[in-house]
């Protein structure tokens, strides 16, 4: 009886997670004839795939770091703003999130491309046009823009939950503002930072839409490779194989983060 309410979720998990995962594993370890092979997995070591994977990792790390650098001050500002304004700022911040992800990314294309808004603006001000579109820089910009809220919100949530008495106690014990920030606030934010990193790093690592739209289809991230195997090449087996490798990468990075979080609780001082 007790387990009855869980049935829809179990069905959902089986249909939505378990079966697709099994299918990916099946496709990943078989060739087109259905025979067992590890070629799809090992294909990741081909130079073109390695390059894409390396670029993906690099850009994800860069955009995660930028998001983190922007989010901590922003979350602190949000926390310290007064009640009335606070709601508004958070609202304004969340507003773009409610719009379609594709649209937001395409908006950047319109802004950055030759003949776009930036082009005209630079022209008006007699400045050289910054050739950002179709570069890795544009992709990083898109990643940061799209995923920043996912970094800010968990950090802001953790900050909000810090008992103001704890901050006061630190001041009371003689700590100045920077000490309070370094020794109390930041260490206590670690759980939020960890979940923020996860929520920015993982989608950045796997994205193919941002690189498609802002990379001009010339910059291949690992996401693009997988997408192409499934669509244009119609090679589900290879796509699944590389997906599996990606999954391993993601699981490893999550495990590393978890470890950081654990250490963070006791050993930051």
């Amino acid at each position: 009886m007790k387990k009855l309410p869980a049935v829809p979720y179990i069905v959902w998990m089986i249909a939505g997670t378990f079966i697709p995962l099994l299918m990916i594993v099946y496709y990943g370890f078989t060739d087109r004839t259905g025979a067992f092979t590890t070629a799809n997995i090992l294909a990741v070591f081909q130079p073109v795939h390695m390059k894409a994977l390396g670029l993906s990792l690099g850009l994800s790390v860069v955009s995660t770091v930028i998001c983190l650098a922007l989010s901590i001050p922003l979350a602190l500002v949000l926390k310290h703003s007064t009640m009335g304004r606070e709601g508004l700022i958070v609202f304004i911040f969340l507003l773009p999130m409610w719009m379609n992800f594709l649209l937001r990314t395409m908006a950047w294309q319109v802004i950055l491309e030759k003949g776009g808004i930036m082009y005209h603006l630079a022209h008006m001000l007699h400045l050289p046009f910054p050739p950002i579109i179709n570069t890795t820089g544009a992709i990083v910009l898109g990643m940061v823009y799209d995923f920043l809220p996912f970094m800010v919100l968990p950090i802001y949530n953790v900050l909000e939950k810090i008992d103001p008495n704890i901050i006061e106690a630190a001041y009371d014990l003689g700590a100045g503002e920077s000490t309070v920030l370094r020794k109390i606030i930041l260490p206590m934010c670690v759980p939020g930072i960890v979940s923020g990193i996860t929520m920015v790093f993982v989608p950045s690592l796997t994205t193919f839409v941002i690189s498609n739209i802002l990379g001009g289809g010339k910059i291949y991230l690992i996401g693009n490779i997988i997408e192409q195997e499934f669509t244009t090449s119609a090679n589900w087996n290879l796509g699944s194989g590389i997906s599996l490798v990606m999954m391993v990468f993601i699981l490893l990075s999550m495990a590393a983060l978890m470890k950081l979080d654990k250490n963070g609780e006791g050993g930051m001082m």
Binding site: E168, A169, M269
Partner: protein, 443 residues
């Protein structure tokens, strides 16, 4: 309350023991009143109260203003007297005003705290006591007025620039640090050497009976232990003044009582001034040298625990401190008051003739006699055994009297009640709403 002497190392505690509890005190007062015919209650304690309350004036007038008074004091009192004379002003609040939006919390508030005093701000929730503490700690700025620390204006100083440490109600320990790191925080911030810090952390833990807990995680400790860590964390910095904001509020009764003795001991050992905030009158009576009763940001009474209990200045204080019978009465003339239509001799003077007054009589001061032998005949309507004594309600003269007695009288027993003159405390009628007795819901 029973007090075991062996558990009570502190001088302040001895003081409470010797002069403390109602039964003994009532008897002493009776003799005193009968023998000397002195109009003042508790004359000896009033001397001390004066000393602590208006010390500057006494000190200026000379150390021993009255030789016979000095001769009448016991050794303990003499020591206390000397201690108080050496005391000097540590904190002075001058004309503090604080409001939140339209709500005036403190209105031209003045207070002086002497060095090495255990002073308690006592009042119901929302009376401004926590705001006051936060202003002293530097967490809030007064709208106007000044805070002086040893004569220096520290009103604008942030908390980290004050020689004051705070023990918060909910401990406020740093959850990401272990016990030792918590206690070391203040010392680390002030750049003390590692060996000094290690030594101090050890000392702090010893002080609060938590030796060997350095590496324990904060969330692995009980509430009482966490509060001890919070106290240790504050006192290792050797503050001149320790602020305690209802530090025992979150603990259960037994632990709270233990911690009260612990705090008295700590204060004696450390020799620092304690400014304590609570709404628990028993806590205030047990620990304080001086109690400040607050209501709606106004001081209702300042005095020693004895004074506050025995001589409440208005209905609010009488009602807030301990159980009491508060009655409308009429002062016929000096030393005679008419309560429930019956005249009672009393000891108070100076209230005028035929003036309405409030009278407070403590339940333990009501003497129960055979019908016709007391002043007011009545009948017992309620009787509950509450441990040390029976608590009874007696309908007499149109008023339900709360009486406490070690002898039980069954419900329905006709009795007569009496009160000795000394135990009738006359008070002026309230002129302000905050001087009135509390409504039940207000508490």
């Amino acid at each position: 309350m029973r007090v075991d002497l062996k558990q009570a190392p502190g001088r302040a505690l001895k003081w409470v023991i010797e002069h403390g509890r109602p039964r003994k005190r009532a008897a002493a007062r009776e003799t005193e009143a009968n023998a000397g015919g002195k109009p003042r209650r508790n004359a000896a304690w009033r001397t001390e109260a004066n000393a602590s309350g208006k010390l500057t004036r006494n000190a200026a007038a000379g150390p021993e203003p009255n030789a016979s008074e000095a001769a009448g004091r016991t050794n303990v009192q003499n020591r206390l007297w000397k201690g108080l004379q050496m005391a000097k002003t540590l904190i002075e609040l001058r004309d503090i005003c604080k409001r939140y939006d339209d709500n005036v919390v403190l209105d031209h508030f003045n207070l002086t705290v002497e060095e090495n005093e255990f002073i308690t701000l006592l009042g119901p929730s929302g009376c401004g006591k926590t705001t006051l503490l936060r202003i002293v700690g530097g967490f809030e700025q007064p709208d106007s007025g000044q805070v002086f620390f040893e004569g220096q204006d520290i009103t604008e100083f942030p908390p980290n620039k004050r020689q004051i440490n705070t023990v918060f109600q909910k401990y406020a320990l740093f959850p990401h640090m272990n016990v030792g790191q918590n206690i070391a925080f203040g010392l680390k911030v002030s750049g003390k050497s590692d060996s000094y810090i290690r030594q101090k952390v050890k000392y702090g833990l010893k002080l609060v009976n938590l030796e060997g807990f350095e590496n324990r995680k904060v969330d692995q400790m009980s509430g009482g232990q966490q509060q001890r860590v919070a106290i240790a964390r504050a006192v290792v910095n050797e503050p001149r003044l320790l602020l305690l904001d209802e530090p025992l509020g979150a603990l259960d009764l037994k632990l709270r009582e233990d911690m009260q003795y612990e705090l008295i001991r700590l204060k004696e050992e450390l020799g620092i001034t304690f400014l304590y905030v609570t709404h628990d009158q028993e806590e205030a009576l047990t620990m304080s040298n001086r109690i400040i009763v607050l209501n709606n940001g106004d001081i209702q009474q300042i005095g020693t625990p004895e004074e506050i209990y025995n001589e409440p200045q208005n209905a609010f204080v009488a009602d807030f401190i301990g159980d009491s019978n508060i009655l409308d009465a009429e002062m016929v003339h000096d030393k005679l008051v008419k309560i429930c239509g019956t005249e009672f001799p009393c000891v108070d003077t100076g209230f005028g003739e035929n003036k309405p007054v409030d009278v407070v009589i403590r339940p333990e001061d009501i003497i129960i006699r055979e019908p016709g032998e007391g002043k007011l005949d009545g009948v017992v309507t309620h009787n509950v055994f509450i441990g040390v004594h029976y608590e009874m309600e007696i309908e007499a003269g149109g008023f339900t009297w709360l009486a406490q007695n070690t002898t039980s009288y069954d419900v329905g027993t006709p009795v007569s009640i009496d009160v000795i003159p000394f135990n009738i405390q006359i008070m002026h009628k309230p002129v302000k709403p905050e001087q009135e007795a509390l409504d039940l819901e207000a508490e």
